[in-house]
Amino acid sequence: MSTTTTGTELGADLPERRDAAGEELPPGIGPYALAWRRLRRNKVALAFGALFLVIVILCLLAPVYAHDIAHTGPNDQHVDTALDQFGLPIGPTWHAKFFLGADNTGRDVAVRLLYGGRNSLQIGAEATLITMLLATIFGVLAGYYRGATDGLISRAFEVIWAFPVYLLGISLGVVLAISGLDLGFIHISGSSLLITSLIIGLIYTPYVGKSIRGQVLGLREREFIDAARQQGIGNFRIMFHEILPNVSSTIIVFIPLVLANAILTEAGLSYLGAGVRPPNASWGTMIGDGIRLLPSAVHTMLVPGIMLMLCVLGVNVFGDGVRDALDPRARIRIDH
């Protein structure tokens, strides 16, 4: 009589299995399939995940909206039609043109919102990718080899993490925007979005890396690692085939968390002028422009802000759902 969730509702539709004697075996299901089933039952998480997807799709369709619906580009200034007699931008018209109003130079807010969203989401995604890559590589290396390797990597994590986050971000942001990044074989221009992605990715690496390292430290003492070593399997194969699959649920749980924070950090950096710079726009720069117009034209600030909030909320709630699905007893420690 099975009392786990595997045996009751979640595994209800699995095919019956029988052993050699014809006795019924409990239904089998792997951990990821199980997590997926749990996630499917979490309607709220799915709804917010869909919200995030809708926002992403809208932003990807920015050129379509600009060209076919609003008939204006993100940087086209319509001073004559978009500003009222006081020179203040018009509010939302809820029509095809200037659906969400205009900003102080006559640009269509809705069009800019979608184009800016592409930048914000692109930076968020790139930064998340960078963080997860670096954190996994260095976390696993540090946890597996320990000793001097661990010492070096952990010190590096500590130094980066002890930096007041925004100070590091704006210092790097401002300096690299001027000089670009030139590492001999890699040349990135100062106005590229990749610079901001790299900075944000670097900032969050210690956070995830420490968690992964902690988990690997525990994993390496387990029997299956001993068994693998005794079989003569080399270190890299062990790390890749034995350790990595076991940290994968930690990685998956961290991804939405890092993505949400990356998007928020990009907005903050751009607001301070250290992230996305003109002529590029992002939700952060739009909110900043809107704030500077206060107390008039409040829609210029509210529209990108609400959009940003909905997007991050979608990621957060969905991420919570993913965490509950993969780890219902909260064994993955996110705080340190």
């Binding site: 010190r155 500590e158 130094v159 002890a162 930096f163 007041p164 986050v165 925004y166 100070l167 590091l168 704006i170 210092s171 790097l172 401002v174 300096v175 690299l176 001027i178 000089s179 949400a260 928020l264 907005a267 903050g268 607001y271 301070l272 002028g273 250290a274 952060g284 909110i287 900043g288 809107g290 704030i291 206060l294 107390p295 409040v298 600030m301 509210l302 802000g305 940003l308 909030m309 991050v312 909320l313 957060n316 709630v317 919570d320 909260a330 705080d335 340190h336």
Partner: protein, 301 residues
């Protein structure tokens, strides 16, 4: 600890050496080549990198360091701006710690109930909003439109305590929301985990009433991660981490000073503030470790 601070100072300095012509920041408008050369020599920009680093670190530690753009002593400037950031940090810290713990306990107490659900929703919304957006919304709607509270600026405590308080309420709220969201959820999950631990069963079996079980055992252990988080977050805010809040509300504190200095490519303030911030984090981390031993008798220093 010293190693970390040293590494941070070197890193910060190195970041700014990527700027090709620092003398342009000090020179006025339309400088002549002679002026630029003179500045280069006087400020030591023509020296090799490691010498410049040593010079600047010496200036920092003797308290004589001067900003590039404003010809003021940075340490003195920090001293003047510290009360603003301290007012913001301490007030917000009290609010977010007490409300975070309160909401966390309430959520865990009736876990799964409507109160828990709504508090979780609020927490998630709070965590999803960028601080400066929340600040701007509060400042606009409560400050400008309703006029209940001033939309920005800072009034010194010594000048007028009531005005000081009124000017800080909105910034305190804006800064606290994010932390309340995080703390309430961490505390809630920690309490729910602790409640199922064996020693809690033992305590109940011993005959302790529920209130004693909760305070002496469950809460004491659940508060440990909160204490760590609070130490780190508070240190970060004091060390200039409230950049966004200070900028949005025009509070002239350390954070805003740092932001302005970075944008002006003014290295000395950034260096000093970064060191100050990192130092605060490390010191408070040590204090937190000591508090650990008080809260958790299993840990011996």
């Amino acid at each position: 600890m010293v190693g970390v601070l040293l590494a941070i100072s070197i890193l910060t300095f190195l970041i700014f050496t990527a700027i090709p012509h620092p003398e342009l920041q000090i020179a006025g408008r339309f400088p002549t080549q002679a002026t630029l050369d003179h500045i280069r020599h006087q400020w030591g920009f023509d020296q090799p990198v490691y010498e410049r680093y040593l010079t600047i670190m010496k200036l920092v530690f003797t308290g004589k360091i001067i900003s590039y753009t404003q010809q003021v002593n940075v340490v003195h400037q920090l001293w003047v701006l510290l009360p603003v950031t301290a007012s913001l940090a301490i007030g917000a810290g009290i609010i977010w710690l007490s409300l975070g713990i309160l909401f966390g306990v309430l959520s865990a107490w009736r876990a799964g109930g409507w109160l828990d659900r709504w508090l979780t929703v609020l927490a998630l919304i709070g965590v999803s909003m960028p601080v400066f957006f929340l600040g701007a919304v509060l400042s606009y709607y409560i400050g400008d439109k309703l006029g209940w509270l001033p939309p920005g600026d800072y009034v010194k405590l010594t000048t007028d305590p009531w005005e000081w308080f009124k000017h800080l309420i909105l910034p305190w709220l804006a800064l606290s929301v994010l932390f309340i969201g995080v703390y309430s959820r961490v505390l809630r999950s920690t309490i729910l985990d602790t409640v199922n631990d064996d020693y809690v069963r033992t305590a109940r079996a011993k005959g302790l009433n529920e209130r004693q079980v909760m305070t002496r055992h469950v809460l004491r252990n659940s508060l440990i991660p909160i204490v760590t988080l609070f130490g780190l977050d508070f240190a970060a805010v004091i060390g200039g981490g409230a950049i966004l809040t200070e900028t949005v509300f025009s509070l002239h504190g350390i954070g805003q000073y740092a932001a302005q200095s970075v944008q002006a490519l003014d290295i000395p303030p950034v260096l000093v503030i970064t060191l100050f911030g990192a130092f605060a984090v490390v010191i408070i981390g040590a204090i937190v470790d000591i508090l650990y031993a008080v809260l958790d008798p299993r840990i011996r220093l």
